[in-house]
Amino acid sequence: MTTAHGHSALRPEQATIPAGHPWNRVPVISAGCALAGVAACAILGAANPKQFFFSWLVSFMFFLSLALGALFFVLIQYASQGGWGIVLRRIGETAFAMLPVMAVLFLPLLLGLHELYSWTVPGAAEHDALLRWKAPYLNVPFFLIRAALYFTIWCVIALLYYRGSRAQDVTGDPGISARLRRFAGPAIIVLAVTQTFASIDWIMSLTPHWYSTIFGVYFFAGSFVGFIALLSIVAPAMRRAGLLDTVITAEHLHDVGKLLFGFTAFWAYIAFSQFFLIWYANLPEETIWYKARLEGSWTTISILLMAGHFGIPFFYLMGRTVKRRDWALAVGGAWLLVMHFVDLYWQVMPTLHPEGVRPSALDVAAFVSIGGCFVAAATWLIRRQALVPLRDPRLAESLAFENA
């Protein structure tokens, strides 16, 4: 129907976590988990530092990709002046507000550069013509400068959009939306470029001889699937917890499900394109990356990704009913979030364990450490803020939204 729904605005108390709600305890619980995780990392990692750094890298890239996916989700809504997703925007804003936290969680990796990236070992390029040729880009000082640049840019964009949205809650100034919309286009371009180079630096250079020009897009596709999958879990979970249960409707979940379905197919398209060209051209310096992943037990993970990151969710999410039922969408989201982790694990770990899949307790410890920090900080942040942008000029449109 058109506009006659009677939703005009929300009262702040409808959109905040009430005192005494169980979710108020999540920050403390998560922080406790993070502390336990860090302790486990310290104990186990001391014995096996190489495994620790690789495990940390996988989990770091996982949570970083969720925050970057969230930033893209919000920017694209500003740029397109989208109305439907306003009630979901603060979930995205909270996730990308974790980028400064991720910058701190990046620091442990700097202690293990030699363990992770063979090209950083002094003298690595001496007898290696290809590494010598790549040295103007692949050298430690420039690597550090770039990392600092990525995090500075991401934190500036995140802060700009987070503070703008929060300021609008107070002032109700529609000019804030207009200003943030003007920045959104350029910000998306900057985000795309920095995200591309970050994925090259932190994942692709694990195999320094290898290169794939589509790798940045591959990382982006995974990160966006990751965030939408997270959204598919968080939005239904909030409804079940009695938060925004009348605000987020099946119509909003339906659109989240469409994005999840669409970008699952997009991920498959990009992942296959990368594989296909390398497989067909059959150039040794390119095929080496896939060769490592099509040997031994890594083959199983490769097949799992084809079926689990594409085939199964593609058919599962195709129908309308699944997207509109909160628990069914959350099941799809949880499945894809796991697959997104497996995807990153499969990108990183064969460098450490070319002989086959070797799960480690440090994988769990690093995941709990970083995930605990991420969840603790995010839930601590939403405790103090409205769960939707209360005075966004398009809020009424989002509240009344229906799929045609």
Binding site: M1, T2, F272, F276, W279, Y280, N282, M318, R320, E402
Partner: protein, 186 residues
């Protein structure tokens, strides 16, 4: 489907055509016609009226299933065609790959699947709408010429079990129809 089933009601009357002044009038009239239990009827508007399918009580279209079936058929045919050409009928070594190199088949499998799904969508839609239909009894109504312009109509066909030439007309009048017309068959 349009070619196989009877598209127009038999008998002396096609049905009743009622004109409404505004989309809101039409919307409410549709709700009443739906609740009165009519099944063979339609609404005609110059532009899409949001939510009208709920007001009419229309079931969801079976078109998505047709598209899915056609897409899967296309994918299977595309894949089997390439397997047959490359591995069975005329095996050639191409760039040192095995005859049955399935990754090389994926782009064409995808394309044929999209082609079949798109054809299924277009022709499935036409068939479900009983199109093409070159003439329709409603076209003989003078007021119906405004249906693409500024008028809103409900037509109830005579083969609806609840259809009655006079009672149905009175119902539509009571729902605020600006004019009610009993349409004869060809």
């Amino acid at each position: 489907m349009g070619l196989l089933v009877n598209r127009l009601p038999p008998g002396p009357y096609y049905g009743i055509l009622a004109e409404f002044a505004t989309p809101a009038d039409l919307y409410h009239a549709c709700e009443h016609v739906r609740d009165a239990g009519f099944t063979r009827w339609d609404a005609h508007t110059p532009f899409p009226v949001h939510g009208l399918e709920q007001a009419m009580g229309l079931p969801r279209s079976p078109l998505p299933w047709i598209v899915l079936g056609m897409g899967l058929t296309g994918a299977a045919l595309g894949f089997i065609l390439q397997w047959w050409v490359h591995a069975a009928a005329y095996p050639l070594v191409i760039s040192g790959k095995p005859y049955f190199s399935w990754p090389a088949f994926i782009p064409i499998t995808f394309e044929v699947s999209v082609l079949f799904a798109a054809l299924g969508a277009v022709f499935g839609m036409l068939a479900l709408n009983r199109l093409p239909m070159h003439h329709h009894p409603l076209f003989r109504s003078k007021v119906f010429e405004q249906v693409t312009d500024n008028a809103f109509f409900i037509s109830i066909e005579s083969w609806d079990p609840r259809f009655d030439p006079s009672a149905t007309g009175q119902l539509l009048e009571s729902l605020g129809a600006r004019s009610v017309e009993l349409m004869e068959s060809e």
